[in-house]
Symmetry: C3
Subunit: 137 residues, 3 copies
């Protein structure tokens, strides 16, 4: 049993979705992981991690759905900071910032059309850190 | 410390929810798990894993709520594939396909009314795979 | 490699959000955790666990967003139990009851403004249990 931890850095743009599946594949391969779990954790309160079929249509559909649930606009959060990103925080709490995926026979157990994505919900470009942590053998 | 991995197969129908708690209980029992975590991971981009009180009312309420958030209809995704399941993908990204539960004294730490369910969000019957992976002792 | 498990107990009020980050920090410190994962799991089907910037504005914004998605009202669930908390169950299935966070150099890898919260979605005060489980070294 071993634990291996690394970090990905991303320069992001507002409302953009980033496919980080290859980063995870390379990490698993580099540490010779065979069987266990890989945890993907986004550091921050205005971003998210989930799985999606990473294609141009859904890259537009997903923010559009979130814009119905938590539209840009005025929130109580603005009274605290005035930074106009209340909706970004709400989307983060809704989608979540943590994802765990099994590794089997040295590979992610995800499906063919199931990519791992980092979602930038904030209103300005950010420099982001994502933790990857493998536990297993 | 040990890692044990298995797969469940399910033949599903659109918009149906499946209680897989017994499958997980049997897996834990079979491998003599005492303390650790069990990861439940659905392979696919049009399905989900969550917990719910598995009773007839909520089995209707849950899809009805999702139908308000991501209704069947036209999405940009259709321009890519034309398979009419844009809403299925969005629901999957929203609910998630991964769930981790503690095992304590050889049992799932879930509550009495807290069942683990696989959610079929796709528009046609599917043959599904769900990975169960225990890490612990 | 070691596994350590404990439970937090909370006396909650309806629609309230509780910052449990300090509880997790103290647990990690007490067991001398250095590197691994901490799983936070809420026992129950009418509550949730997520991350949020814990400040007064978002503590109001978050329930208000959920009230748009799954408002208080009549649900099929009421036909089963009549306890008027159909929306509480739906919010729990949507937000989720499980969260895994990496521990690096003896500390949670969360961001400065990213607190871990327990969300009470039920309609009456409850006595809650939250499992904390560390796996690692």
């Amino acid at each position: 049993m071993k634990i291996e931890t690394t970090k990905i850095e991303l320069s992001t743009k507002p409302d953009e979705i980033y496919n980080i599946t290859d980063n995870i594949d390379r990490f698993i391969s580099k540490i010779d992981a065979v069987e266990g779990t890989v945890l993907i954790f986004a550091v921050g309160s205005t971003c998210g991690i989930t799985t999606i079929e990473f294609e141009p249509g859904l890259r537009r559909d997903f923010p559009e759905m979130l814009n119905k649930i938590a539209p840009r606009g005025h929130y109580h959060h603005d009274a605290t900071w005035g930074d106009g990103n209340g909706h970004s925080h709400l989307r983060s709490s809704l989608i979540g910032t943590s994802l765990t995926i099994p590794v089997i026979d040295g590979k992610l157990a995800t499906g063919t059309w199931q990519q791992v994505v980092f979602c930038e919900f904030d209103v300005r470009p950010r420099q982001r850190k994502i933790v990857l942590q493998f536990s297993g053998k």
